[in-house]
Symmetry: D2
Amino acid sequence: MKALLYHGAGDIRYESMADPMPVEAGDAIVRVTACSICGSDLHIYHGHGFSEDRGFCVGHEAVGEVVETGRAVSRLRVGDRVMIPAAAGCGACRPCLSGNVIGCENGAAACYGLSAALQGSQAEAVRVPSADANAVLIPEGISEEQALLMTDALSTAWFGARSADIAPGSSVAVIGLGPIGLMTVDSAFVLGAHIVYAIDPVPERRALAAAAGAVALHPDEAVAVIREATKGRKLDSVVEVVGSDATVDMALRLVRARGTVSVIGVQQSRRFAFPLERAFAAGLTFRVGTCSVPEELPTLFPLVQAGRLKPETYVSNRLPLRDGAEAYAMFDRREAGTLKIILEP
Amino acid sequence: MKALLYHGAGDIRYESMADPMPVEAGDAIVRVTACSICGSDLHIYHGHGFSEDRGFCVGHEAVGEVVETGRAVSRLRVGDRVMIPAAAGCGACRPCLSGNVIGCENGAAACYGLSAALQGSQAEAVRVPSADANAVLIPEGISEEQALLMTDALSTAWFGARSADIAPGSSVAVIGLGPIGLMTVDSAFVLGAHIVYAIDPVPERRALAAAAGAVALHPDEAVAVIREATKGRKLDSVVEVVGSDATVDMALRLVRARGTVSVIGVQQSRRFAFPLERAFAAGLTFRVGTCSVPEELPTLFPLVQAGRLKPETYVSNRLPLRDGAEAYAMFDRREAGTLKIILEP
Amino acid sequence: MKALLYHGAGDIRYESMADPMPVEAGDAIVRVTACSICGSDLHIYHGHGFSEDRGFCVGHEAVGEVVETGRAVSRLRVGDRVMIPAAAGCGACRPCLSGNVIGCENGAAACYGLSAALQGSQAEAVRVPSADANAVLIPEGISEEQALLMTDALSTAWFGARSADIAPGSSVAVIGLGPIGLMTVDSAFVLGAHIVYAIDPVPERRALAAAAGAVALHPDEAVAVIREATKGRKLDSVVEVVGSDATVDMALRLVRARGTVSVIGVQQSRRFAFPLERAFAAGLTFRVGTCSVPEELPTLFPLVQAGRLKPETYVSNRLPLRDGAEAYAMFDRREAGTLKIILEP
Amino acid sequence: MKALLYHGAGDIRYESMADPMPVEAGDAIVRVTACSICGSDLHIYHGHGFSEDRGFCVGHEAVGEVVETGRAVSRLRVGDRVMIPAAAGCGACRPCLSGNVIGCENGAAACYGLSAALQGSQAEAVRVPSADANAVLIPEGISEEQALLMTDALSTAWFGARSADIAPGSSVAVIGLGPIGLMTVDSAFVLGAHIVYAIDPVPERRALAAAAGAVALHPDEAVAVIREATKGRKLDSVVEVVGSDATVDMALRLVRARGTVSVIGVQQSRRFAFPLERAFAAGLTFRVGTCSVPEELPTLFPLVQAGRLKPETYVSNRLPLRDGAEAYAMFDRREAGTLKIILEP
């Protein structure tokens, strides 16, 4: 089959690779009908390798159709339309069974497309291990595109917003307005925020946030504007969706005494300079981490079905999978107008 | 001064009474600039007397201007624009100080306008006991009309919705679409409901709920329609805003296993036939009671300031206080188009 | 095999019946090494039949050893030591997988031993449907006896206590001091209660509660004593563990304004006279229902392993299964000294 | 009067100073009957000056008797026995009124004894500003000694434990076993912890923790022992009660994926090297800050009255106030057996 393979920093190629086959009795093979590029794929693209492997298939956001099931698969049938959450677990421990894949007690939690150990899904087909647990039937009233955007982006955005303790009446900032950041703005409003400051250097992204009801700010002005607007009180909740020391530091400057910062941007800093003295004086809850997608879905499905969340708003491009290399380059340039890119095998 | 006085069932008169004076050192006198009629005023109007008194001033929703303060009043000044929450407490115990007037440890909690003990506020002026605690400054960005609607109606609606454990993604029913019921519909959406069924026999009220995004149903069809729409699963949360045995019973038929019913309609039943066997089999949380207005305000102020809640939508009439008797009669007839009536002294 | 079979009110017999066999591929057969009699078994014993069936095996609390597994069973192995929670679900839907058997979306939730549809476990062996989900491995550090007491009694007690919103510093009453009531007293202390009133007419049961740290009261004196001790304020949380209208009514008289009543006694009243007017005036949370055992276990296992909860304290008798008829009669007489009866096949 | 005055690092003297007098109408003067030395007093003693002042009175833990009240004081009377929480606020804003002194909206929150602006209470008498809000009547059933230990130590310990999200069944570590650390161990058990690891280099302190039911560990062995005991899973909740980078770092090594670290040791680090990459991979809630004493008291009073918490256990010395200089030196040496020192004027 054809797939997007990683050959080093900046080098993603559309090439042939072996068709995926069931390895364990619980595996299923899913023919991918649509996949997408995530901001965290850029970490791989930039060569911050999560592994030393080369030639493996990338990508962790996909939807498709079950075409083959191992003999221990009991809940899925060939022909089922499924979404594949970004990470898979053992599928047998209590956390996995209840949707907390990341908390897999057998240490089997892994994201697709980071190494040859679990091939990615930017491909014509993908092997899903323990598929009863790790593939999710797309429910009625959810389009394939919406389901694709819930395999990671919207689930992460929602998790980030609720991890920031956003409640009705909250004042909020979201730092970073890529697709996940924009969906975080929407999530904050559904959680009851009365005001959301949306911060990003790219004017087109700020315009989208403003269209969603946020007060859009350039990073250079954000701290000063928010301090003045709140008379120095600052904000109840801040969500960092970038993954740099500077933006985490900004988040810590924007939060009020006893407020909450939620960091969902992929972090690679080992010695972030945390202002412990200041945090102690004011009081702070600081949350860092990522979501377990299946845990978020029971809440998100009805909200998307009812149109309260519309993640499809942030799809900017649909390209054939064969143009994947150019799609990565385009997404990496953060060009005006480029947001979520969907690839079709 | 002039005021609306109660003389028995169906007999409210616009008459003269003595001007209110400070009795205790903590009292303040507020010149009423607007007051309103609440659904629970109809209980008095119908002669379900909360007391045997006659000739006292009715009403418990008012805003106005401080015109006199006792010598122990330290937070209010003459000239301040204030709202007067429906019930007053001692103002000195910890619950009162933190806004939980209803939980007053000195047993001083009382609603205005139920007896001669605490005269009502459908008048040109009203005495506010322990005014530092029992009058609230109207903050910037809140109109006088909005503040008036928060002295009871919106606060009760919000309390009812959150007492029903409504969370993002919830399915909800609201039974009874007077002003509080309609504000409960709005509150449910701000709390994240993905669908709200709004139930009332009056077509005009259903139309307003539909305009707010709800699925409007006549009581006769509600149980059947909701069971079918949810494939028998029924709803996460139901709010009863009427105060009759029949509607409480309906609420208990609409809620799913392990769901929550919140009853905020004024209840006068001493032996409601509760289906304990059925509730036990399914699991149920059943909440009954009313709100302490000042507890809800810190959440509601920013939501109203930001326009996420617009209680003023449900004002249908503005009349001079002198027409109060007719206003009561009109409100009691539940005529098409009559919702919240504001009276101006 | 031998088992206890129901032949009508008061008529439980130790008789032969067919050995259980796997029916579905997910079934397992468990050789029962110990089972026990629950207060709710007395409802069957008294002929309040949950079905019209006769000659079926009773009982829903058992531990044992897996002796046979259907071919779709993947998590259990022959020889495993397991506990069997009181109710079983489909084992495939998300609620079942996460431990909420009662919320089974396929409507498959059923308690063992109520009819011929799912034979009970007061027998030499029992069929466990969807055994991967419905049997639980006994973890290290939990004795077989403790595990048996967690298949229903302790799990229900714990659920009842936490459903009463007991928190550190709470004042509590527990009405009914059978084994579950006594474990509820212990649970209340683990949840942080500062005082627990324990109410029962049987002096020996009151003595056990007193030994556990509670203030023991006879039902005739409870309301008066508690009102005086709390200066009329009454209690934060009340748990009803009996299942009669009189005790539910007492619970509603003992709870403070805005407090919580949790009803876990099996209720058969269809028209309980609920004091809605009084509840409305004071504010109340009223919870009714029963637990889903597997949901409680992740919390209970470490508490029992660490000795913070000792359900084995309340075992009063160990008898051979063949004496089951006499055991039922003895338990039904509520004799001094009779609490939890364990039966050994 | 006589008092302990700060004259620079290591230089605390028992000297005369002017008697305190009411400055504002809301002030009260309290004759101190007992005061105590807090771990955070050592920061001052070591000259990490919170101010450049010299000659001011130190100390922020005291109980005593009201001897004079300003004319605006309405809730306190001369002769009342009161405890004085460590920090005072304006006493008029909603946060202050509800007990959240630290969140004082008028920016008036200040700790006693850090500068000449608000003189300390290691003295024969102390001025309490806005005394209605900032002094608390000692309730029946609480000894003066217990009340003294609740003005800061036990309240902070309890806050630290609950900020660590300790719940029934939790596994916990407490790092630092001074008086607050030991009370944190006790608090963790009341919150339902099934195991508490207590970590400190001083053997006598470890022995006290072991007597309280904890597993006592030397810091050098803690990480290895806990990783092995939990099979690498680590702990649900960790409380840091020291205030050094090394112990915060240890806390971050002891917490499980998605667990919570609560830091209540006084922090002075401006650039703590936070392992953001590791925290992101595992998921973490990190809380830093200190308590507002009056917020904790409604929960703590019944727990102390009922004997579930016994802070008096950790009093090691009672000395006359005149020996204060020696008391500071003794406490600073962390000698075996020296824990909480009470000073009597």
